[in-house]
């Protein structure tokens, strides 16, 4: 666990970086000049690539040594996708998938 000062520093970094990403368009393009085409292009194609990257990052500790180390993740990700395509409800998809995952790791694949 981090020290209190370390945790405060981490939170401060998160706060500053989050604010900067939100402020950047206003700092750069609020003078009436149109944003460069390249920026607009990256602003459009990068988000899906980054989200895919973060999903893989979340699953990075997955191992195929035994079923309990990868099946719960796989089943739960599948459940989230299926729930979301079916009901289009963010909360239902997130909590449904998470509760399923918790049951799988706590009770099924022990």
């Amino acid at each position: 666990m981090l020290t209190t000062a370390g945790a405060i520093a981490s939170i401060a970094v998160m706060a500053v970086v989050t604010f900067l990403t939100r402020a950047l368009p206003f700092l750069l393009f609020d003078r009436g000049t149109a944003p460069p085409k390249l920026i607009l292009y990256l602003g459009r194609v990068l988000p899906p690539a980054i989200i895919a990257m973060l999903i893989i990052y979340c699953l990075k500790d997955l191992s195929f040594a035994q079923a309990g180390d990868w099946l719960p993740q796989l089943i739960s990700v599948g459940a989230v996708v299926a729930l979301h395509l079916w009901r289009h409800n963010n909360l239902l998809s997130i909590f449904g998938g998470t509760i399923l995952y918790m049951i799988l790791v706590q009770a099924v694949f022990v």
Binding site: L2, A7, A9, S10, I11, A12, V13, M14, V17, T18, F19, T21, R22, A23, L24, P25, F26, F29, D30, P35, L38, L40, Y41, L42, G43, R44, V45, L46, P47, P48, A49, I50, I51, A52, M53, L54, I55, I56, Y57, C58, L59, K60, Q73, S76, V77, V80, V81, H84, L85, N90, L91, S93, I94, F95, G97, T98, Y101, M102, V105, Q106
Partner: protein
């Protein structure tokens, strides 16, 4: 802040009230599970104020990640905000000191409300937007504090609750998949990360490889620009 703007904004924000209470509570609950109580939840929601960013924050705090990693991961998860800002340039113009708060509080949900909501006749639009932003953050703070307190009071086994972050990203990915005509960027992002982070990361260290993955993704997207631009151009501005 006037009461007229607040009472006009409240009905518009009710869907966010439901969502933020629930997602905020899950955040507070997870935060408490890794040993940070409601005071931490309150200050994180007050100063960071980002749904997926704070979920990621729980993981970053629990793994005691270095500040460089914290900065990079936060940058990555918030990258899509760049697009939000671009479409709010007009709307926030002339808001004076409140503009600072409007930019700070531009979350996915607030963006969605601001993009569509119209101020009722007789209500100043600027005050109306400000009231929406302020109400949304107050729900978020409330939810996260309730979640952390509940996490401390209710003794449940929270093993696996961190999957909420994965689930959140999967939900965003599914929405993006449906909104975009071209799926190459998403597939590319996933494939590059598998190669660099999962395979080469075993050898060279995962934190370093995360930055390399991002670099390779940007590079490939730049190389493929002509191909992707002509297809995507029809659907977006």
């Amino acid at each position: 802040m006037n009461r007229k703007a607040l009472s006009a904004a409240f009905p518009v924000t009710v869907p966010v009230l439901m969502g933020y209470l629930a997602i905020g509570m899950a955040f507070g609950f997870m935060l408490q599970a890794i040993g940070y109580n409601f005071i931490w939840a309150f200050f994180m929601s007050l100063t960071i104020y980002a749904g997926s960013g704070q979920y990621l924050g729980v993981t970053l705090l629990s793994t005691a990640a270095g500040l460089g990693t914290v900065a990079l991961m936060t940058l990555l998860i918030n990258f899509r905000h760049l697009v939000y800002g671009l479409s709010m340039l007009e709307k926030f113009r002339g808001m004076g000191w409140r503009k600072f708060y409007m930019i700070f509080s531009l979350t996915d949900e607030t963006y969605a409300l601001l993009a569509s909501a119209q101020a009722p006749v007789g209500v100043d639009p600027k005050s109306f937007y400000f009231a929406i932003a302020l109400l949304d953050q107050s729900y978020w703070i409330l939810g996260s504090v309730i979640g952390a307190v509940a996490g401390a009071l209710i003794p449940v086994d929270t093993t696996g609750i961190d999957f909420a972050m994965t689930a959140l990203f999967v939900v965003i990915a599914v929405d993006q998949w449906k909104a975009y005509r071209k799926h190459l960027p998403a597939l590319l992002g996933g494939a590059v990360t598998i190669v660099f982070l999962l395979i080469l990361g075993q050898v060279f260290g995962q934190q370093q490889m995360l930055i390399v993955s991002l670099g390779v993704i940007v590079l490939l997207l730049l190389v493929l620009r002509e191909k992707l631009e002509e297809k995507e151009g029809e659907t977006t501005c």
